[in-house]
Subunit: 308 residues, 4 copies
């Protein structure tokens, strides 16, 4: 462990654009990378949830990482998701992304499997032993149905298994407790993925941010981060409040037609179309894409936020 | 749809033995197949949850199906699990098992994904359209965290998307309601996976049974099924009560050491070792295997049940 | 403990009618009692969930029990709910219903409280020690958010704390396991509250039934019970299937207007209006009552079931 | 609605001491009130969860409020819990506490009942219409199993039904969203009950704090609050981190002996014994009290925090 985390700052989960016919849109993905690196992002996180990774075939995952890696060209580091059900499968996936240019891998607990905390520890240890990259735990109980307890994460941090955590648990109490448990461990990096309380996460001691909404407004999250690091909390809160209003684009999709999973990511993609970064807001099967009325409403919110 | 289900009877989910070193034990798997076919099973269900499929690599899944298919040699049909997170990935998996000799594929809803009922319908329809085999829905909310409602399943059954359901939901109210909703649809096959209430499932109109415990005592479940089909409910209940006592082998593992997922399957494997069918009770990573004391206690239960 | 349960047969949870102005309708309640006793019920269960007990004030609860007790006039025994949050409050409530004519009290685990299994045991033991009546556990995790495990219930049964269980857990696997664990304890009474699988519950060894739908068709459940006790399973299943179709009245209410809690009980009350037993289908605050269109549709289902 | 909230600052939920024999300890309760008012609290919140209200009989609730009201003698306002299952019962309880000296009532959604959002709105409206006091919503899904959505709360705030919210939901994303939705409504008061992220709650726009741990260290939370209000975030964070370490007293109880509900409140009571405020740490039935070893360990933590 180094004395400061190797990864800090804003590292957004990169969306995966598709053409209107449903194929991967690799030029669009390159444009997203430019949009993000140009927006001041400190790193990129491809093959995360916002990248629709659960919906990508193995071949598509390989293409996405190759494209992001090539487009980034080493300008910023890549945290890359290695998303699979259980240990042996995660190891295979992690080795693939390591070979594909990852600077760190981000993995969840087992899922679909019926497991317990002891298996979670063996899982993280086995993956960390099998790959020659820093391992980040991805804490996302809304998907895995298992909250990683601060004590468990702290144990894995102190023994050197984990280099950091990407927190999407919605549990800021546990986030703060983990920070206190790892205060003496400066190499352990804590990232929050919660778009609307990034200022509070920084106040609680986060090292960085992983908000999906940074796909839409990278510069805004960069300003928020910089203000927080400088102790300019009034500025950070003001920027956060603006971004929280922008985040209301995820409330636009009609819930009777678009699932919760499709709605949030679909709103990001739709905004990127409006911003001229990509050409289509098509979602992976079986998700519904947002329609014209929803796109128009999102355009209004982007205007109010000063992005159009 | 035919006028009677193409699949009826007892079709157990086949365990996947490993050597004590952790490799696939293919001779052991062949022995399990012989044990089950010889025990009167009407079909086999490889690559299900009892087969530790979530823990198998892609290569292992291919080897398991090839081995079961070869050992079965067409004596009974094969329902085969195609276990993946979302639509495009399930289609790839389903095509693989179709090529590997499956007579039907068994698939779940999406998981890890955040979805809704409309996506579930699109998911099943897309898979059914993409593979040239009957599709069974596998209803296992303890893993997928989504219960398939009777009305949703009935809709997919009536339109011809689904050929049947493998119910591991623990919800016999919904099971009965689905039976009533599909009474006029004789080609739709309903299977229950609940070891201790198979008699009640048959009374409620099940076409067949998929109990993991049938790995241990196939002949017992065959007797239960035959009694129920003949209307000999007193015999069916008596056999069920005996099997319910046998099922207490899953309570043997020490929960402070062995997870719930590992405990049940580990008990089946341990019993198969005691019965001389396989050589080791090794579990897939990161699950713990049962120890000698637990094996001894399981041996006692097998003796009481008249199996040793 | 006696050698046979003191309570067997069909003992429905009695609905609590209100006038269209919202006041308790005690003449209507008397009519419900006559309808049920006349329909062959072996006992009555006032102040249960179907009686809207959570919504009744203390004064209303006292009036309801006095009315049911007086109208029943000892013709059948009364199991009475003593519904409160925690131990001391349940004891006070249980003593009230004991004074009001209860032959047994039916109590849940604590709720709203944050508790564990050890507290549940102390809770049941304290209540049983404090009241001079048989105590039934009411297992309804959809309300209490705690499933009573078979082993816990069996322990309390064997030590004499519990005289029986009223199972509304939807978990027939656990119900069967509890039956096996109490087979040697003939004084322990097991009741199922699940309207559509009463035949299966009887096959699994239930001593009796507590279906809310028996408010609508007591004679039907009596026939089902008698057939099951006589081993006429074909008759029992046929009657169950008819009652399961009748139970579809609970699917009639528009879920966008009527909550799940209000819909089921509202359907029972609406059916009782159509049958001429009570005068209004008014629900307790804040529940919505069913409207005319819903009542008409329920009337059609009653006709199909041969009740109108 | 006034232009500023009538209630701001630190308003702790007051614990309810019992003698070692289990009776209410009213002199102890008076001492707690002095400890809290003397510690700079801006108000008191008796009959909340930390007051073991779910476990108090009706008579005890009346005694507790009378004692707190008398001991406070109008020095600070009283927010008082009116804890019951459903609308009519909450109204009765709310009228009781209004008569007992409450300056505002704090109520939850229905619980034990099976309800929906529309019933929740009717519930809050009916209670607000029936009592002549400001009504605070108490958002505590770990007990009620229903999260109050920001949009629902904002609607009730804007129409004047709710005067504020006491948030114990653990969901700071929703807390921030509610703040943004009520920014134009200065009379609406938002309180956070989360002991370890009070600084973050203040940054997000909270009007006040309701931490149970303030029973133990009222002055600490007062310092945190004052620092936050003054924009001295560095001081606020430092104080918060110290209090978060102090909060680890709730991790002391042995979870195999003491339930989660009993452990936290038992730790507060045990600390108050160590601080000489009350004489016994006895818990209400059926909760276990902390033992001598646990008390000793809590003493050590109090010492480290500079309180002993």
């Amino acid at each position: 462990m180094s004395t400061t985390p190797a990864f800090t700052g804003v590292i957004p989960p990169v969306v995966t654009p598709r053409t209107s016919a449903g194929a991967l849109d690799l030029p669009g993905l390159e444009a997203v990378v430019e949009h993000l690196v140009g927006g001041g992002m400190h790193g990129l996180f491809p093959l995360g949830s916002s990248g629709e990774t659960p919906y990508l075939t193995d071949a598509e995952r390989t293409q996405v990482l190759a494209c992001v890696s090539s487009a980034t060209a080493g300008r910023v580091p890549l945290l890359v998701g290695a998303n699979e059900q259980t240990t042996a499968r995660v190891i295979e996936e992690a080795r693939k992304v390591a070979a594909g240019g990852a600077d760190a891998v981000v993995i969840t607990t087992p899922y679909y499997a019926i497991f317990d905390a002891a298996e979670v520890k063996r899982h993280f240890r086995a993956v960390a032993a099998a790959v020659d990259l820093p391992v980040f735990a991805y804490d996302i109980p809304v998907r895995t149905h298992f909250k990683l307890a601060p004590e468990l994460l702290a144990e894995l941090a102190h023994e050197g298994t984990l280099a950091g955590v990407k927190d999407s648990s919605g549990n800021d109490i546990a986030f703060r407790q983990l920070r206190l448990l790892t205060r003496e461990l400066p190499g352990f990096a804590m990232f929050s993925g919660h778009e609307v309380i990034c200022d509070a996460a920084m106040l609680s001691g986060a090292d960085g941010l992983v908000p999906g909404l940074a796909n839409v407004d990278p510069a805004g999250y960069r300003r928020l981060y910089d203000a927080a690091v400088s102790g300019n909390w009034e500025t950070a809160v003001k920027e956060q409040d603006r971004l929280a209003e922008l985040f209301r684009i995820v409330e636009v999709p009609d819930a009777s037609r678009v699932s919760p999973g499709a709605g949030g990511l679909g709103a990001f993609k739709t905004a990127l179309v409006q911003l001229g970064v990509i050409g289509a807001n098509t979602m992976s099967q079986p998700m519904e894409s947002l329609n014209a009325a929803e796109a128009a409403r999102i355009g209004e919110i982007l205007s109010t936020a000063g992005l159009l």
